[in-house]
């Protein structure tokens, strides 16, 4: 554990040191970035080592001379640590050139401080083994990320985002606390490990409560409301970390509690599976409807959390139906997707950050043609898009492939399970198709075609600190996609602790599978190379002309005439209208000489809508009525005292 705590200490120090030197902006950035990334590297190496030679490493500190804060690194923790440290390190490096506002030096220092705090608390969350240490690190994680979200508090919507996030994370924490409370009430001990002895009904209660709590952090529909607000508000490297790894701590919590309780009734697995499907499909549908680049990516986090939950839910079903292969496939697929998503989602957010910094706008329909001047950003973003659409030969495909296999195993089970498995498979397919549609929209509208506004014309990319992390991440996407063997092995290392109830997992079938994927990918690449060679041969000595795009007879095309992202998604949204009500504002054109008109549209999030209407407003109304009791009349105040006495005397 020493190297683990060394890395955390180093990261904390990196965050604190900024307050000493914040007056020299660049020095401050350099110090923070270098120290924090070094800390992350140490932690990363440590985590990989611990992951590859299994066994649990524990450390415990006395707390208030009565309790103990204990931490442990087993396979599962190590797996999440890898993701956390890897993404955090790259995000830190990215921030060196991204945080370029020297007027806000002090605020940037605070930003680095809370950023380091966030990294450390995430690392502690996935290693904590009793309630106190878990809640402590969990709350610190929420708090620090809140401060990161309201970094740009000047704008009202960012404040709203911060507030939403704050409230959601606190309420979620309360749910988790309630779950722990029930657990503690039964076992009388703070550690999770002793949970397996309590009655099944209590287990189910604990799991469901904690699922709400962790789900609200992970962004499971309908508890995701904060997410599409918070991610756009935060600076991009923060969004990368929050969306890439922080929301995964919710997944970790679900898996960890499930593992330590080892509940074997299928109900919870079914709940998780259904929640996964709903968030998967609705997440990507809402993503299609967005005009804000980062909001779109945020909704894709909801979608991918859904995919992860589908995998884990299948795994749980496999456990409860005694189908070990399905269980392993489901869990390892879900966990591998955790890793994959953290990679390509942070990549995409970094790319978005680059775009926003250069063009100064997040509105998709104002952009276009960026690929010409931003080659690296464009290509890496393209890679990320292919990966998140789950296409081979990129990493997204690998995890979805495994989850699919798990789902097909589930088809052989009995009634409810097989229906759910079928639904899972079909919804995975639909999610894949929708994701493809959504990212062709993003790539096509943002990076291709012609600039749709002046802000997208004069752009460049010169900051190495921002480009290198993106290149690295893109590289990893392809590596995992083509040679997934080691990474699948990693996810398999994480699986056994998740309470499957049997010892080592046979590696052979998985190695076979990875070999097949690699083979197919390489085949595709070979054919592609052949074709490229063929093409060059065919074009040798030919005349290559350039001209404007053919306007199908129209001779004066303008960038305004391009297909916009809104219209691109319109027909698909129409298909999902009941789930995603589309609000349009479009005054009709009339008269021989029509006036200037406009078109506004946005998709309502039904979860947000109903949460306000059904939960919040009645609550507020009731409490407003109750405020009468403080009416300022002293006579009745004295009456209250008399009343209290009289009521109490009835108890005597």
């Amino acid at each position: 554990m020493n190297s683990f705590f060394l890395s955390t200490a180093l990261i904390c120090f990196g965050g604190l040191v900024t307050f000493l030197v914040w007056r020299q902006f660049v020095l401050m950035k350099a110090a923070a970035v270098s120290i924090i990334s070094i800390g992350c590297t140490i932690g990363l190496v440590d985590a990989v080592v611990k992951l590859l030679n299994p066994g649990s490493y524990t450390a415990s500190f006395e707390y208030l001379s009565l309790f103990s804060l204990s931490f442990q690194i087993d396979g599962l923790s190590a797996f999440f640590l890898v993701a956390i440290y890897a993404v955090s390190m790259l995000a830190t490096i990215y921030s060196f050139h991204y945080m370029n506002n020297a007027e806000k030096a002090l605020r940037s220092a605070a930003n680095y401080f809370f950023f380091s705090l966030l990294i450390v608390s995430m690392a502690l969350v996935v290693t904590a083994t009793n309630m106190i240490s878990f809640m402590l690190s969990w709350e610190i994680m929420s708090l620090s990320s809140f401060f990161l979200v309201i970094y740009d508090y000047e704008s009202a919507e960012n404040r709203k985002a911060g507030y939403l996030y704050f409230v959601f994370s606190h309420v979620g924490a309360m749910f988790i606390l309630a779950a722990f409370g029930i657990l503690y009430g039964y076992t009388g001990s703070f550690s999770f490990s002793s949970g397996s002895a309590i009655p099944d009904s209590a287990k189910l209660m604990v799991l469901i409560l904690s699922f709400v709590g962790f789900g609200s952090k992970a962004g499971v529909f309908p508890f995701h409301v904060w997410l599409p607000h918070a991610h756009p508000a935060a600076p991009s490297h923060i969004s990368a970390v929050m969306s890439g790894v922080m929301i995964k701590t919710g997944i970790y919590g679900i898996v960890r509690l499930y593992a330590s309780l080892n509940l074997h009734t299928p109900l919870f697995g079914e709940i998780v599976l259904v929640a996964g499907m709903i968030s998967g499909i609705l997440g990507v549908v809402y993503a299609l409807g967005q005009h804000d680049l980062k909001r779109l990516l945020a909704y894709h986090s909801v979608e991918n959390i859904g995919i992860i939950l589908i995998g884990i839910g299948l795994g749980m079903l496999g456990v409860s139906f005694g189908n070990p292969i399905m269980a392993v496939l489901g869990f390892s697929g879900g966990l591998l997707h955790v890793l994959n998503h953290s990679i390509f989602k942070s990549l995409l957010f970094m790319g978005a950050g680059m775009v926003i910094q250069k063009t100064g706008t997040r509105t998709i329909d104002m952009l276009g043609g960026l690929l010409k001047n931003m080659k690296i950003t464009g290509i890496t973003f393209l890679v990320g898009s292919l990966a998140i659409s789950g296409l081979p030969p990129f990493n997204g495909f690998v995890s979805e492939f495994i989850i699919y296999l798990g789902g097909f195993k589930g088809v052989a089970l009995d009634k409810t399970a097989f229906v759910l498995s079928i639904l899972a498979i079909v919804s995975l397919a639909i999610i894949g198709g929708l994701a493809l549609a959504c990212f062709t929209k993003v790539v096509g509208v943002v990076f291709q075609g012609e600039p749709r506004s002046a802000s997208a014309v004069a752009v460049d990319e010169k900051e190495p600190a921002m480009l290198v992390p993106m290149l690295v991440l893109a590289g990893i996407c392809i590596i995992i996609g083509v040679f997934p063997r080691m990474f699948i092995a990693m996810s398999l290392m994480a699986v056994p602790v998740s309470g499957l109830g049997y010892g080592r997992i046979p590696m052979e079938p998985f190695i076979q599978m990875t070999a097949n994927i690699s083979l197919a990918a390489t085949l595709f690449f070979i054919i592609l190379l052949v074709l490229i060679a063929l093409r060059t041969v065919l074009y040798r000595g030919k005349t290559i002309g350039t001209a404007g795009t053919w306007g199908c007879g129209f001779t004066q095309p303008t960038p305004k005439m391009q297909y916009s992202g809104t219209s691109y998604a319109a027909s698909i949204l129409e298909f999902f209208r009941p789930a995603a009500p589309l609000q349009e504002d479009h005054p009709a054109i009339h008269g021989r000489f029509p006036q200037k008109t406009h078109y506004l549209s946005h998709v309502d999030d039904i979860a947000e809508l109903h949460m306000m209407r059904v939960v919040v407003n009645p609550f507020l109304w009731l409490f407003d009525r109750l405020r009468w009791i403080q009416h300022g009349d002293i006579h009745l105040y004295i009456g209250y005292i008399l009343l209290a006495i009289v009521v109490l005397l009835f108890f005597v």
Partner: protein
């Protein structure tokens, strides 16, 4: 059965009714003063074996309750020339009826408690309760701040009755405490009253309703 005690206690109960009925501050003050005197007599005649010091202490209490406090309040009124009505929220007749009902209720309630053996009179507990609740009634049913103060004093009388007659323990300290309470409390209230008078040029507590949600 203890004739003089019952007599005095019934006087006390009577004073309660009078206080409910009196519409003028001076009258109310007189009633409260009378009540204070009578209440302070009770410990003397109830037949505890008392030390000379005890008797002296009780007499001092009597002086303060019966004379000092009423007079200082009376002069407070004189000085700041406050309107003389007690400005009832509940009307006088209703109040008197309420008083009667209250006494009856006190009688009934007092049977629920197994009154300790040393209590010399059956009227003791009911009277105490009646005084207590009556004081609160005045506090709740009179808008005039001074009337409220007087209600507070009546409440204290009730507690005094309980404290000095039921329990033989810690007699003096209880008396002392109540004394300090009434004295200091009433003094402070008087000060505040004067300020209220200066600020609002009235002591109608209806004016004191600005602080609320």
């Amino acid at each position: 059965m203890n004739i003089p005690v019952d007599l005095t206690l019934s006087l006390v109960l009577l004073s309660v009714l009078f206080s409910f009925g009196s519409s003028r501050l001076p009258g109310l003050i007189k009633v409260i003063a009378f009540q204070g005197v009578v209440v302070s007599i009770v410990p003397l005649i109830i037949g505890h074996d008392m030390t000379a010091g005890g008797i002296l202490f009780t007499l001092a209490t009597l002086m303060i309750r019966g004379i000092v406090i009423p007079f200082c309040i009376y002069f407070a009124i004189k000085k700041v020339a406050i309107r003389r009505e007690v400005e009832p929220i509940v009307g006088y007749h209703a109040s008197v009826l309420a008083g009667l009902g209250l006494i009856v209720a006190a009688m009934v309630v007092s049977h629920r408690f197994n009154a300790p053996s040393i209590s010399a009179s059956v009227l003791l507990l009911p009277t105490a309760i009646a005084l207590l609740v009556a004081g609160m009634f005045l506090l709740m049913a009179r808008r005039n701040a001074i009337a409220m103060v007087l209600g507070y004093i009546m409440m204290e009388n009730g507690i005094y009755l309980v404290g000095t007659t039921f329990s033989v323990r810690a007699l003096h300290i209880v008396e002392f405490g109540i004394l300090l309470d009434v004295l200091a409390g009433v003094m402070i209230m008087a000060v505040i009253l004067q300020n209220i008078k200066q600020t609002f040029d009235d002591v109608d507590t209806a004016l004191l309703r600005t602080l609320k949600e």
